[in-house]
């Protein structure tokens, strides 16, 4: 197991921009003013996400992992530092971005198919040209026969599948997922983990996946970024050297258990998890 700590100290020189970094995050800080003084949601975040890499961001609630994701999406502006996407400084949401949130935010007045197609409508792409692709995505995610249903007729897992199809419609290079399976039951979550792993295997999109599930993070990722709170910062980044394609059974292997053990131990030592 290779681990490389990435905690940023004050005297640490900025990284040179790595050649292969799709997303380069340099000393990013984000603070909010409040009546009780500033809240430091993020402090000194340094992270490179390589093109085609699956990175999970793991941490307790309040560690700023969702804020970090929103900064990468260009939805929030960091108060300090800089984020480059493909070498260009980020200013607003980048091109070819797909997002999935914990709540599926499907529009009740649209059918499942029309919900998927809205991505194209926003991007001013004629929906007729992507209709076929939308249908294929829905079929691939097991929603065949539900294209013309409305979201309220679907279960939580199916709704989140539709939300993933919506994010994938315009074939994004960068997929940002904010606890997408956090509200689902364990079995549905397993299903969707497997489907996401498969689709990533086929398309090799660059993925940043925010979660508080340790097993989920290890199962899906090439690297797991662990964060702590007050202020939100990266405490460790570990490489997950497990063979791909991965099956759910990999979670019973000793290598997998080793990663889980390491992460649990780290969070326990920080008082974020209790042991017994």
């Amino acid at each position: 197991m290779t681990t490389n700590g990435m905690a940023a100290g004050p005297g640490r020189p900025p990284h040179p921009v790595a050649e292969a970094a799709y997303v380069a995050i340099r000393r990013v800080g984000k603070s909010y003013g409040s009546l009780k003084g500033a809240v430091h949601a993020l402090d000194g975040i340094d992270l490179d996400i390589r093109g085609g890499e699956f990175v999970s961001i793991l941490g307790p609630s309040g560690c700023g992992k969702s804020t970090l994701l929103k900064c990468i999406a260009g939805l929030e502006k960091p108060t300090s530092g800089q984020i480059d996407i493909q070498g260009k400084p980020l200013n607003g949401p980048p091109d070819r971005l797909g997002m999935v949130f914990q709540r599926d935010v499907l529009l009740d007045w649209r059918t499942v198919l029309d919900n998927v197609l809205i991505t194209a409508e926003f991007a001013h792409i004629p929906t007729a040209s992507v209709r076929e692709r939308a249908l294929q995505l829905l079929w691939r995610f097991g929603l065949k026969g539900y294209e013309d249903r409305h979201p309220w007729e679907l279960s939580g897992g199916m709704r989140q599948r539709a939300a993933i199809c919506r994010a994938l419609l315009c074939d994004p290079d960068l997929l940002l997922m904010d606890e997408p399976f956090g509200a689902l039951d364990a079995m549905t979550r397993d299903d969707l983990n497997l489907e996401l792993a498969r689709i990533w295997q086929d398309t090799r999109k660059t993925v940043a996946f925010v979660t508080h599930g340790i097993a989920e993070a290890i199962f899906l990722s090439d690297r797991v970024v662990m964060m702590d709170r007050n202020p939100g910062r990266i405490i460790e980044v570990i490489d997950i050297d497990l063979p791909r394609p991965r099956h759910l059974a990999i979670r019973e292997t000793s290598e997998f258990a080793h990663y889980v053990g390491h992460i649990r131990q780290l969070f326990t030592s920080l008082g974020l998890l209790k042991d017994g």
Partner: protein, 262 residues
Amino acid sequence: MMRRLQSLYESGMVLIVLIGTLLLWEVAVYLLRPPPIILPAPSLIWREFLITPGYFLQQSFSTLYTTVVGFVLAVALGLALAVGIVHSKFLERTVYTLLVALNSVPKVALAPLFVLWMGTGIEPKIAIALMLALFSVVIDAVLGLRSVDPDMINLARASRASSFAILRKIRLPNALPSIFAGLKVAISFALVGTIVGEFVAGSEGLGFAILTAQGQFDTPRVFVCLILLGLLGTVLFYIVEFMERLALPWHVSQRTGHAAAP
């Protein structure tokens, strides 16, 4: 099918209660014999209507016309204001605050002022109807336009949607249930405004007819007008509700028999 039967049953119940009330009224008047100037019997009111049905229908139509014009103008102006208020901090601080302040003035008291400004034609009546209806349109539309899941907006922004596209494809449809709630209140207020206008300076309409009948101590005539007014209000309300059904087949309140998929 079950729903049809259910609604038929419910309408039947309403009809029975209504007829029962009229019968009770008729019998009470027959037994207690109050002077017709205090309380005429339903049969007398009906005969009064039959004397000059054309007159009553004409007055009803006049009131209906003023109400609908006032209402439509209030909806157009109200929605435009609401969109402006939601998109501009400046409008929110100025127009919205002003509207709330204005709403706490009993607006009916402003009616004579409108007559002074606009004369005794149909214009001041439309203006009063508009003014009374406007507030509930604006308040509910602002509420609806604001109650959007922030992640819905984030999602649209991540797809680089323009703010007009966000308004058209997300905010407005999302606000429709709330907007219609406001419209249902507004249509009744528009009718109240029209009647007030006709009271203050009218030469036609049900409000004018009521005042005229009052001047002649013709209570049965007043009752005819009141009943027509009630009918008018009810029909207008259900027309708005019908439009809501057409516009919102997806809304929770309209769903029937859709079980969630396993």
